[in-house]
Symmetry: C2
Subunit: 229 residues, 2 copies
DNA sequence: AATATAGTGTGTATTTTTTACACTAAGTAA
DNA sequence: TTACTTAGTGTAAAAAATACACACTATATT
């Protein structure tokens, strides 16, 4: 990320917008900086790309160092390189978004020196961000809004087994609008990529909902056709 | 200058896929390299990002140096940074696509040392490309295929005044499939972003078609709503 | 045992959008 | 005048999107 002093002509970094869903809210992971510039500000996690890493590997590493998680769905979406975006010199940064199912807080790890702490904060109430990170975040949200309409990325935010209501909830949070329950179900089921399980939700104090699983095989077979919300 | 971190000296470049439409075919601009590596191979035009340029400025400059044109529609779409993509070391490259209306060959200029010559080649018959440029091109085409469905980019490939048949032709070439004439017209007109002119096509040896113009104002007013093909 | 509570799960009618499809009109060239 | 070439147009059928309300079921409470 931005903690390096770039006297060299161009420093190349990766910044990540980690979207997490805890069953209730959509959150992103922010770190509180411990170094100038922007000491004490909230910022997106990021780091410098290593010499022998591919870009995707680098993004995975950054995420692993921060959360201890591997195999997370990530995608590159935009490069930000305004010469003035970093007060200490030229830093070109490549933005990734990642999608994570949150369960408790077990994912967070002790983190590197440039950050005091890291926190999952709901996207409905974000603080001012360091550098041009607001712009990076905005573009990331916009990106997943588009993506979720055509690609099966919602499942990355949910546990392996989920209810249709939970799935609808994810769509509503990402798209930022209410959806009709009956129409949503009709449509999502019609894609034919969900497997209905012989299992019900547990631990709720009301009628338990049927659990579903995303069926990757069926989805793979569907290629050529696009799903569309 | 002392190098604190060895991986900071990665080279950062921009490569461009310039799509051009001459009324008949969709073409891209390729240069024939005059230097190793890949001497005598065809490659996408590109260059190093200057220290005080924004990324978009850099892309515009590269395009200007090559064609003498300014104000061309360009868009960044992906960063390629495999450690092995360049035989002589780490080069991270950011890909842009650009859309250009071709008229005659006046656009091409004498070009820089690393290229022997530049040529517009039809996308239906491309040669082997240097480096990972085939991958970059593929992704660029894919990108404009998606883009043309939702954004008014087709007009960038056409002269200011155009016929509906020409417009349809652009869509067909980009999407790679035939469209129904009546349905195409119905739909494109229903978006309400075309202005029908009191003017006809000239110099054709058959019935002249009505000319249209893309109406940016109407399009701007339409924001929120999305056009969709 | 009865009742309250909270979320699950389902169908239909209407409107809108998409698709498939073929002929006449207009202008030019011979 | 005729032949040629492209422009321009409408409709019916199918598919998809929308709007909308109530009974069911599991648990918690009394």
């Amino acid at each position: 990320m931005e903690q390096i002093l770039p006297h060299l002509d161009s420093v190349f970094s990766i910044d990540c917008v980690l979207f997490g869903f805890d069953g209730k809210e959509l959150k992103i992971l922010l770190i509180e900086r411990n170094e100038e510039p922007f000491k004490d500000w909230w910022a997106l996690p990021g780091n410098i790309v290593g010499p022998d890493e591919s870009l995707d590997q680098s993004a995975s590493r950054i995420l692993y160092e921060l959360t201890g998680l591997r195999g997370i769905y990530m995608e590159q979406y935009y490069a930000f390189g305004d010469p003035n975006r970093h007060p200490q010199g030229r830093v070109i940064t490549l933005a990734y978004y990642a999608l994570i199912r949150l369960g408790g807080d077990k994912e967070l790890r002790p983190i590197s020196t440039y950050a005091k702490r890291a926190n999952w904060l709901p996207i409905t109430d974000l603080p001012k961000l360091a550098f041009d990170h607001q712009k990076i975040y905005d573009k990331g949200l916009e990106k997943i809004k588009r993506r979720i309409k055509h690609q099966p990325i919602a499942f990355e935010l949910l546990p392996e087994k989920f209810t249709l209501t939970q799935l609808q909830h994810v769509y509503e949070l990402v798209l930022g609008k209410k959806l009709d329950k009956r129409n949503f179900r009709k449509k999502i089921v019609s894609f034919g990529v969900l497997k209905e399980l012989d299992e019900k939700q547990k631990g709720v104090s009301y009628r338990a909902a049927t659990l579903y699983r995303f069926d990757k095989r069926k989805y793979a077979k569907l290629f050529g056709k696009e799903i569309s919300f």
